[in-house]
């Protein structure tokens, strides 16, 4: 398996294994709305401070224990205590309110609670490896994980007996292994290889829009980047179409901001930045950042900053080079600093960076809040940016969809006028599966969401990733 983008091997496994072994109460659709999963229904009270979840009664954990409101309440309390998602801070209590009902009491309305519940996998309290998903963890050692079919999976018995998960240090190495026929599925086909994999008749590739965007995050404490006009000029200077074509080989689409364009609250007509390098030059000139005379040994630039790039993921290298070239065209010297994943994370959290080239999740507005709301963002990103806090808070406390939409418009305006980053592109992702499996793919949907429905075309087989 190649790693989930932007994550290390261990975090990749932490994402993939729960996806196959556990189930959330709800799941987020591509448009950001929620659909039932372990909870078959839910209802808010009028004040939107009490959420009652009605659970399915036919769900069993891998050890045979039935899913009960008591177990779910326990699991939720543990996750809330860990503050695993931002909206859980609004939850004051979790109680069992019926044979199949759990009620969450909130201190104040929080529109992120439902999408955040979709991010929480329900596992047996104290036994995080025992879930209700289609596969159960059989063994895990080193780079290999073995999952076995869970015959009592409430949505139906999976057709595949077992899933072996192998990890690879690079995407190229993973697809080379796929080409050798050592794998049945490739978690992610690298952009360099996708055309070759697509051409191979023994393998089917499935691409879908991935709700992850790549921003160039600015540290607003930087002496130059703290200037909103500079950041705005940088956004105007970027030819995002060219970035997508040259940096992502066309497998993506330009990003206007951190809000997923397919989200139900997204408004396409909201204010956004357009590519205008002349305006960018004028704006930088007006901000006092003119191109100085040539100095020996130095690039004649308006200013310079250093962009930290995750060196272990080749995807970012080419994107960084294209960015560097585009900045150079308007006289900005962006220096590139390749970092290991550990060093990268440390810099992001400590705020010791000028700019970061990174990948961020964005399907849910709660993720936008998590990254760009300054108090919350410091958990994962310490850029010093605070301008969007108010708009983000309004979205979070919205009591209706209209309030959310108005909040989104405000947020997009803030991100345009005082951008915390240059939002570069949303990505397309491709997964590859051996033609020996009938994957039953749905358009624009991740095939991993229905692994339990995959069928071996020929003889029963296991799937390796």
């Amino acid at each position: 398996m190649s790693l989930p983008a932007g994550q290390t091997t261990s975090t990749g496994l932490r994402t993939l294994i729960p996806l196959l072994t556990t189930e959330p109460l709800l799941t987020n659709e591509m448009d950001g709305s929620q659909v039932a999963r372990l909870a078959q229904d839910w209802a808010w009270d009028e004040s939107r401070t009490k959420l009652q979840l009605k659970l399915r009664r036919d769900v069993l954990f891998h050890d045979g224990t039935p899913l009960t409101p008591k177990v779910v309440a326990q699991a939720l309390r543990a996750r809330i205590a860990a503050h695993s998602v931002s909206s859980f801070a609004s939850v004051s209590s979790v109680s069992v309110t019926g044979e199949d009902a759990v009620t969450l009491q909130l201190t104040q309305p929080d529109s992120f609670l439902l999408p955040d519940l979709a991010l929480v996998s329900i596992a047996m309290p104290g036994k995080s490896d025992i879930g209700t998903g289609p596969f159960k963890l059989a063994s895990q050692s080193g780079q290999q994980t073995l999952l076995r079919r869970f015959d009592q999976f409430y949505r139906g018995r999976p057709a595949i007996d077992a899933v072996e998960i192998d990890t690879y240090p690079t995407q190229r190495k993973a697809w080379a292994s796929m080409m050798r026929g050592s794998l049945d599925m490739l978690y992610e086909v690298s952009r360099d290889a996708v055309e070759f994999v697509e051409a191979e008749s023994a393998v089917n590739t499935y691409k879908f829009p991935r709700a992850y965007y790549i921003p160039l995050i600015f540290n607003v404490r930087h002496p130059v980047l703290k200037n909103a006009q500079v950041r705005r000029a940088i956004n105007e200077a970027l030819d995002k179409d060219a970035l997508v074509q040259e940096g992502l080989r066309g497998r993506g689409r330009p990003a206007e901001g951190p809000i997923w364009p397919d989200h139900w609250a997204y408004i396409a007509s909201a204010q956004s930045t357009t590519f205008n390098p002349d305006a960018a030059r004028l704006r930088l000139d007006a901000a006092g950042y003119r191109i100085p005379p040539v100095t020996a040994g130095q690039m004649p630039s308006r200013f310079s900053f250093t962009c930290a790039v995750w060196a272990e993921d080749a995807r970012f290298e080419r994107l960084a080079l294209v960015l560097q070239k585009q900045f150079a065209d308007i006289g900005i010297d962006m220096r590139l600093e390749p970092l290991s994943a550990t060093a990268f994370d440390e810099r992001a959290l400590s705020g010791r960076f000028d700019a970061l080239l990174i990948e961020m999740a964005g399907r849910s507005l709660s993720w936008v809040y998590r990254f760009w709301h300054s108090p919350s963002g410091q958990v994962v990103l310490n850029s010093g940016y605070q301008s969007a806090d108010s708009a983000l808070e309004r979205i979070r406390r919205a009591r209706s969809d209209d309030e959310v939409r108005r909040g989104v418009v405000d947020l997009m305006r803030v991100f345009t006028e005082d951008p915390p980053a240059a939002f570069l592109a949303w990505q397309m992702q491709s997964r590859a599966v051996s033609a020996q499996f009938d994957v039953r793919a749905e358009p624009n949907r991740d095939i991993l969401s229905n692994v339990w429905q995959w069928r071996p075309v020929a003889a029963p087989a296991s799937v390796s990733r």
């Binding site: 080409m179 050798r180 026929g181 360099d192 070759f196 051409a199 191979e200 020996a296 080079l321 070239k325």
Partner: protein
């Protein structure tokens, strides 16, 4: 006739079909050879063009590095400028995964890589005589083939460093993938070390990534043989057991070999199609030849068959039948000649008939003269003597009896002649065969005595009754006995015997006479046929007619020198003579 038909078919086959088939075989062979050569030549040309493209690809990459090297050395750029330039080149030329600038000692000066350069100056490059060095294909960390090109930078004839580019062979793959020969023909590149570098078949690309490439791979074996001076084109079964046409062409710049593979089913599809068309044309020609030959032969043979039918018809006695021939050829002449011959046969037949009639008439006349002249003469003499000796009562009476006797003879001759032409009037009553035979023997005893032989009856112990005419039967017995007496030399024996066998009764008249030659036996019952020197020869014919009219049959067996036996067979009847019934 079958033989004529067979020969005719054979004639058409040898005269028309066989040459056509030979022509077809020769044409197909020639066509196949020529087209196969053409396809091979075409694919070789494609392989050559691909090799040129690859050379161009490599050359272009070398030129890129040379151009980059020139810019780097000629303009005395600052390090940051060199660094940006290398990065710009990598962005502009995606073939390069990384380009690194080395000084003459092999130290990295600048690199397109974000961090530490992955590319090292190939050691062999430093010692190479040429300013350009292309490293052998190697497998990178991702088990994928890659290579590096090192271009030496010089200034004032001095080595100032190297520009080394690592080429991502995926770019080469894209180029190879775009090469198509026909619908599924593709190119593949084999490196110096017989390692597969690129494969235009997407499903075969995995072999490149395989760490252990099959040395038994047919394409690699072919390349090995080609490099050793073998032929540039061959056919082999690939690992999918598909018959492939493969041609090879060298890439001189790199030592690589281009192989263009195409399934023979596709490569020679045009040849096969042309062959099919030619074979179809030949088959059609054969069919037309056979159809035309059949109908033409039919018109030919049909006239012979018609001649045969007419011949048979004439043989059956239909003398008026003639053959109607069409056309103006020899068969027509044969038909005309046949008709003339038939006409002549009819004429000859009439002549024969006339001669036969004349002969018959002569024989009858002679017979009549023989049979009647003596009685007539006796009658005439008696009449004369009656006039002379009319006073003598005894003489008159004698002459009268003589005349009456001779008249009976004359009358019998005349009756015989009449009975030949019409049915003999018979009166059928139950007759005792023994009695009728005994009466006949008694009547013929004087003749036997005159001839000096013994005539006797051997009668069955029981009466044998048949439905018969006493007088007609007597005539039959008389004829048979008289013939036997006449055919038997004095001292011989003539016997008339009767027998009964179940429902049949028989009369056998046999003698110890001279016998009848076998060649005449079959005809003795015919009219006017006699074994005697004179006479009409009607006796046996009339006897046979009487016997058959009475429901019986007559047969003869004879041996020359031993005697003759006539057997008359009648059905026995249960009826009895009226007198017996009354008594």
């Amino acid at each position: 006739m079958r033989r004529i038909t067979s020969r005719f078919v054979l004639l058409i086959a040898t005269a028309a079909i066989a040459p056509l088939m030979v022509y077809g075989a020769v044409s197909v062979t020639s066509l196949r050879r020529a087209n196969n050569e053409s396809v091979r030549a075409g694919n070789l040309k494609v392989a050559g063009q691909v090799a040129e493209q690859i050379e161009l690809y490599v050359t272009n990459n070398i030129r890129v590095l040379q151009s980059l090297g020139s810019e780097l050395t000629a303009t005395a750029l600052a390090t940051w400028q060199q660094d940006r330039m290398l990065k710009d080149y990598v962005l502009s030329f995606p073939e390069f995964r990384e380009i690194t600038l080395f000084d003459s000692s092999g130290n990295v000066l600048a690199s397109s890589a974000l961090g530490k350069s992955r590319v090292a100056l190939p050691e062999a490059a430093a010692h190479a005589a040429k300013r350009i060095y292309i490293a052998p294909i190697r497998v990178d960390d991702d088990f994928l083939p890659t290579t590096t090109i090192a271009v030496q930078l010089t200034r004032l004839q001095q080595n100032t460093g190297w520009v080394v580019g690592e080429i991502a062979l995926e770019q080469l793959w894209r180029m190879v993938d775009n090469i198509r020969v026909g619908a599924s023909g593709h190119a593949l590149i084999v490196g110096e070390d017989l390692r597969l570098i690129a494969h235009g078949n997407p499903d075969e690309k995995r072999r490149i990534a395989s760490s252990e490439q099959a040395t038994t791979n047919a394409a690699l074996k072919f390349v090995s043989a080609f490099r050793a001076g073998g032929v540039p084109a061959t056919q082999y079964l690939n690992e999918a057991r598909e018959d492939m046409l493969a041609v090879a062409s060298p890439v001189r710049e790199t030592g690589w070999t281009i192989v263009v593979e195409q399934p023979t089913t596709e490569a020679f599809a045009t040849t096969r199609r042309l062959e099919g068309q030619l074979l179809t044309a030949i088959a059609l020609a054969l069919l037309v030849t056979m159809i035309v030959g059949y109908f033409w032969g039919r018109t030919f043979i049909q006239r012979i068959f018609a001649l045969t039918r007419v011949t048979r018809s004439i043989a059956e006695g239909k003398w008026e039948t003639r053959v109607q021939m069409t056309g103006q050829d020899e068969i027509r002449e044969l038909g005309d000649a046949f008709n003339s011959m038939a006409d002549r046969l009819v004429e000859l037949r009439e002549d024969v008939r006339k001669q036969e009639r004349q002969a018959m008439f002569g024989r009858i006349a002679a017979g009549l003269v023989h049979d009647l002249s003596h009685p007539i003469q006796n009658i005439g003499n008696s009449c004369k003597l009656i006039l002379k000796m009319s006073d003598d009562q005894e003489y008159r009476e004698t002459f009268r009896r003589t005349v009456e006797r001779e008249m009976v003879i004359v009358k019998r001759v005349l009756d015989d002649l009449r009975n030949i032409a019409r049915p003999i009037p018979l009166e059928r009553f139950p007759v005792d065969l023994n009695k009728s035979v005994a009466d006949a023997i008694e009547a013929m005893l004087p003749h036997a005595e005159t001839a000096g032989l013994t005539l006797k009856a051997e009668l069955a112990s029981q009466p044998l009754y048949i439905e018969g005419d006493v007088f007609a039967l007597g005539r039959v017995y008389r004829n048979l006995i008289l013939n036997a007496i006449q055919a038997t030399a004095p001292g011989g024996l003539v016997v008339a015997a009767t027998e009964g066998h179940g429902t049949r009764v028989q009369v056998r008249v046999y003698d110890t006479g001279c016998g009848i030659p076998s060649d005449r036996l079959n005809a003795i019952f015919e009219d006017f046929v006699t074994t005697k020197r004179r006479g009409l020869g009607l006796g046996l014919a009339i006897s046979k007619k009487i016997v058959e009219q009475l429901g019986g049959s007559i047969a003869v067996a004879s041996e020359v020198g031993k005697g003759t036996t006539f057997v008359i067979d009648f059905p026995r009847t249960e009826a009895r003579p009226i007198a017996l019934v009354a008594g």
